[in-house]
């Protein structure tokens, strides 16, 4: 019996063991499978670059750039890979900047080379400070020299396309954005050198008694991913290969060019002629060492020292006046074609009682569905920051709105620490959902907060993405009900409705602040707080005295914040030397008045162009709000043509008279030595500058440039002129290009993981049933024994 029993039990035990092992193995496998899936999905989020490269299946070589990487003038040749470009070797850049009073004029001459064996069309992209007026283009391609003429945009493009098709050398300079210009050059021969010279004008920046300007000259960062090219060398038939995947890795992956090497391959000479118009005190160039020469006429000339590192920082120059001669005002005049153009600037006096005024702040925060995601997080953060800046003397209220609205407090309340904390805690809990009904919230903020206390500043601060349709109604409400209040808008997210924000701030006499990302909140809000917390010069008006008429821009004049000067331009229909401009305003409750007599105006050049540039900018703003945009377009075009300015509607086009690429001529032509025409001050470009004392370094530089090009691999350049590629450069040179949203749901992943979990559960269940079914008899037998 015992033996029997033993024998009977032995089998189930073996079976149990086997089943348990199988069960454990199954469970382990299922666990591993799930783990692998979860890991792979987490992994995929980080391994985008590899996904991209394998997708396009084209090994990317160092040296390719995207137009967005370009920070200084660069000639881009289309590469074979769409969207990427090869930067033509820049042999030399020469910059001359003449500062004449409030205006500076920059002449930039650059020499590029076509390193390929084919005829190419290059696109020259150059970002400039906003408000620059580009009015001149000269170009030398090989032996040909051409100068641009101003034409309406469409006509200019037609001329260019026609000349291009005929094989003529031609250039077209267009404005893509107020601060981005492109210059297309067609039919550059193999090995030919291109010299591009552009001229632009800009105003000297004035702030707090200091004058400054900036010239962009940062070398473009190269697109330089981890190299994926791998060469495997099997030796001796052992089946194993020992190899460095990228033999010249150090050359390719050098993140920054050695400054000395770079100075040679990309030499920049820069000269500034500074004629400030007043005794100059200290002159600073924070990032570059300069040599200074005093001229006989009182102006000074600065040029880059030889051993400076020119091209890793933007060039900046700032100066102030000699002690005791702080220019608080300036008036300049230019007569062009019988018309007088004026430019005036005036820094209002600072108020002695520097005590900060008490404020009454009403925050309006948008928590509608369109703010969902990053936007509401940024809005919450910015608002919490703003609340924490309030003072115990300040009063405040917060209104949140979606398709409903709600005030945090019944009216304005004193900003005690307790209330501030409660408010911040409530703000942090805001969720974004529902529609956007801005008008009732706006009314609540403007109308229902009680009267303004004496001496207090009433400020309405709007945090929204501006995704609304009834803009005009809102503008009307702001204009009508604003009263004493100033309306400040804070645009949240990567693509807020900037038109609404800018215009709302304009009619609300406030400012628009754009917070584009989490990282920007601190910096941008700090600038806003400086404006909110200090007394501003308000209700500024400007008019002519002495029976003369003319238009003054800007109109109306915005509030002037701490240290800001008012800068006016005006045009008078005739040559006038008498009369005055009268300015009035109010600062911290005190009236302010100033008069600028016209007979004291200093003659200056470039005032007419400055007036034209600012008028065009004003008209462009006006165009956003008017229905009759065509009439405004015509005015813009007329002004731009009259003043020889590149604008949204006018371009400079240059065409060579004789075709340089005649039909039937073989493409690979000999390299043409460059002969400079007389009268062109390209001397600096060709090594007669002290920076390059002998021609020998120039040759070295050229060799260096060729080496640089070898890394970029000239084979990557598409040989034929491709109009589409050039168009793409023009399109994407724009820094405000569209950022696409996330367009993948997690549906399929969820379903997959869900199914796996169900499968896993079923497997466990089945396995356990099997297991227990083997236990079952024993359980019964145990129970029986107990009974």
């Amino acid at each position: 019996m015992l033996e029997d029993d033993d024998f009977l039990l032995a089998t189930p035990q073996r079976v149990i063991r086997a089943r348990m092992t199988r069960f454990a193995a199954l469970a382990l496998a299922a666990c591993l499978a799930m783990f692998a899936i979860l890991v792979s999905s987490a992994d995929a989020d980080t391994s985008d670059t590899t996904a991209y490269t394998s997708a396009t299946a084209v090994p990317r070589l160092a040296g390719l750039v995207r137009p967005n990487d370009v920070n200084s003038g660069s000639l881009l040749l289309p590469s074979k890979e769409p969207g990427f470009f090869v930067e033509a070797p820049r042999l030399k850049t020469d910059v001359t900047i003449d500062v004449d009073g409030p205006i500076l004029r920059a002449k930039v001459t650059q020499r590029f080379m076509n390193p390929t064996e084919g005829w190419v069309e290059g696109t020259y992209v150059f970002p400039l400070p906003e408000g620059s007026a580009v009015d001149r283009l000269k170009m030398q391609v090989g032996e040909r020299m051409i100068e641009g003429r101003i034409k309406p945009r469409q006509e200019a493009r037609e001329i260019y396309e026609k000349a291009k098709a005929e094989g003529k050398k031609t250039a077209l300079l267009e404005q893509q954005r107020p601060n981005i210009f492109t210059n297309q050059v067609a039919n550059i021969g193999p090995g030919e050198t291109v010299v591009v010279q552009i001229e632009y004008q800009e105003t000297v920046r004035m702030s707090d008694g200091a004058f400054s300007f900036r010239f962009p000259m940062v070398v473009a960062p190269r697109y330089n991913p981890d190299p994926i090219v791998q060469t495997v060398d099997f030796k001796g038939g052992s089946g194993f290969a020992v190899t460095d995947p990228v033999p010249d890795r150090d050359k390719i992956t050098a993140p920054v060019l050695d400054p000395r090497e770079n100075a040679k391959t990309n030499p920049v000479s820069l000269t500034v002629n500074l004629d400030a118009g007043f005794p100059v005190g200290e002159v600073r160039t924070p990032y570059h060492a300069m040599r200074e020469t005093d001229n006989s006429d009182g102006s000074r000339t600065y040029s880059l020292s030889e051993d400076s590192v020119p091209a890793d920082r933007d060039f900046e120059m700032a100066w102030n006046s000699a002690a005791g001669a702080v220019p608080s005002a300036g008036l300049f005049r230019q007569v062009v074609d019988g018309q007088t153009y004026l430019m005036a600037f005036l820094t209002p006096p600072s108020v002695d009682n520097a005590e900060k005024p008490a404020r009454e702040v009403i925050f309006v925060i948008d928590n509608s569905g369109s703010m969902a995601g990053d936007s509401i997080r940024q809005a919450r953060e910015a608002l919490a920051l703003a609340i924490s800046r309030l003072d115990a003397r300040d009063r405040f209220n917060i209104i949140r709105f979606d398709d409903t609205y709600e005030s945090f407090f019944p009216g304005l309340v004193a900003a005690t620490p307790d209330r501030r904390e409660t408010a911040i805690a409530r703000v942090r809990k805001l969720d974004a959902e529902g529609g956007t009904e801005m008008l009732p919230a706006l009314r609540e903020a403007l109308e229902n907060q009680g009267p303004v206390e004496k001496g207090a500043l009433r400020q309405v601060i709007f945090l929204t993405d501006g995704a609304i349709g009834n803009e005009n109604q809102l503008f009307e409400t702001i204009t009508k009900d604003r009263g004493e209040a100033r309306v400040f808008t804070v645009g949240i997210g990567s693509a807020p409705n900037s038109f609404f924000m800018t215009r709302a701030a304009e009619v609300g006499r406030g400012t628009f602040t754009h917070v584009g990302s989490e990282a920007e909140i601190g910096e941008k809000m700090k600038a806003l707080f400086a404006k909110l917390e200090n007394p501003a010069m308000r209700d500024v008006t400007a008019s002519f005295e002495g029976g003369i008429t003319g238009d003054i821009s800007p109109d109306p004049i915005p509030d002037l914040y701490f240290g800001e000067p008012v800068v006016l331009t005006a045009r008078l229909p005739e040559e006038i030397k008498e009369g005055a401009i009268r300015l009035t305003g109010e600062i911290a409750g005190n009236p302010w008045r100033a008069e600028l007599p016209l007979d004291k105006a200093a003659p200056a050049t470039g005032i007419g162009k400055l007036w034209a540039r600012r008028t065009i900018a004003d008209l462009e703003t006006e165009r956003l709000t008017t229905r009759d945009s065509e009439a405004l377009d015509r005015r813009i075009e007329t002004i731009a043509l009259d003043h020889h300015l590149v604008s949204r509607l006018t371009s400079l086009v240059a065409v060579d008279v004789t075709p340089s690429r005649p039909d039937g001529e073989p493409l690979g032509s000999a390299k043409v030595p460059l002969n400079l025409p007389a009268g062109w001050d390209f001397d600096a470009v060709f090594g007669e500058q002290p920076a390059l004392p002998s021609p020998a370094p120039m040759q070295k530089a050229q060799a260096g440039a060729n080496r640089l090009m070898a890394v970029a691999d000239t084979r990557m350049i598409a040989a034929a002129p491709t109009a589409e590629a050039a168009q793409a450069v023009a399109a994407s040179a724009n820094r405000n290009m569209v950022v696409l949203p996330q367009t993948a749901t997690l549906a399929s992943r969820d379903i997959m993981i869900g199914l796996l979990m169900i499968l896993f559960a079923v497997m466990l269940f089945v396995a356990s049933r099997l297991l227990w079914s083997t236990f079952a008899p024993e359980t019964v037998s145990t129970r029986e024994r107990a009974d």
């Binding site: 015992l2 033993d6 039990l9 035990q13 999905s41 995929a44 985008d48 996904a51 997708a55 396009t56 299946a57 995207r66 769409p82 969207g83 509608s368 569905g369 369109s370 969902a372 979606d402 529609g435 956007t436 995704a467 349709g469 491709t722 589409e724 793409a728 399109a731 994407s732 724009n734 405000n736 290009m737 569209v738 950022v739 696409l740 949203p741 367009t743 993948a744 749901t745 997690l746 549906a747 399929s748 969820d750 379903i751 997959m752 993981i753 869900g754 796996l756 979990m757 169900i758 896993f760 559960a761 079923v762 466990l764 269940f765 356990s768 227990w772 236990f775 024993e778 359980t779 145990t782």
Partner: protein
């Protein structure tokens, strides 16, 4: 021997069985919930489109934008039809926030389809824009706007770009439309890459301009 066996595994079935079964049930339940969540996204996307279709048909030609349902934070903007593929989608006004769950959406700050500039419309790759992978150069895409205006676009090319380097200029010369969705199409995860189809407006199909150059390969090599 018997004692040893029962002693080694005394009450294991009875005491372990219940918690174990509960655990199994929980895993199964969580799995079901995830599957349901995934299916819900698809169901919402499909159902919303039929509701939007009625709402759009009503809104056509009306001056004021109307909301498809009162608590929606978007309006219907246009109907998008891929002629060869026979798809039809209602495009919503704003791609921010939650609109993309219901339909393709016009990205804020870009032109209305048919206007000068580039109109950018984005949608999820696995719901509304899963037909985008079938689009070929030369396909026609018809757009009916809320104001009743109609425009026809011809597909020029397609490309892959990172979302923050899309190369789309909203103020580009001419009348363009860019359809964007996530890429790769069959991936189960989110990533930074987008598939962008560029289409240019054509007014008269009989005088179509020829394709300037063969499209950039992505469509063909996919």
């Amino acid at each position: 021997m018997r004692m040893r066996v029962s002693g080694r595994k005394p009450a294991s079935p009875a005491r372990v069985r219940r918690p174990f079964l509960i655990l199994v049930a929980l895993i199964a339940l969580a799995g079901c919930a995830l599957v349901f969540k995934g299916l819900y996204i698809h169901a919402k996307a499909a159902l919303a489109q039929t509701l939007l279709e009625t709402s759009f048909a009503r809104a056509i030609g009306k001056p004021e934008a109307t909301r498809p349902w009162p608590w929606a934070d978007f309006t219907t903007e246009a109907r998008l039809t891929a002629r060869r593929l026979g798809t039809s989608d209602i495009v919503l006004s704003d791609a921010g926030g939650e609109a993309l769950a219901f339909g393709p959406a016009l990205i804020g700050g870009t032109a209305r389809p048919g206007d000068e500039g580039t109109s950018v419309i984005a949608a999820h790759r696995d719901t509304h824009f899963n037909w985008l992978r079938e689009v070929r150069p030369g396909d026609f895409i018809d757009v009916t706007r809320r104001d009743g205006a109609k425009a026809t676009f011809i597909v020029r090319s397609a490309r892959i770009a990172r979302s923050d380097a899309s190369g789309i200029d909203p103020h580009r010369d001419g009348h363009w439309m860019a359809l964007a969705t996530c890429w790769p199409f069959d991936a189960a995860q989110r990533g930074p890459l987008r598939y962008i189809v560029d289409a240019e407006r054509v007014d008269d199909e009989t005088t179509l301009p020829p394709l300037a150059s063969p499209p950039n390969g992505l469509i063909a090599s996919r």
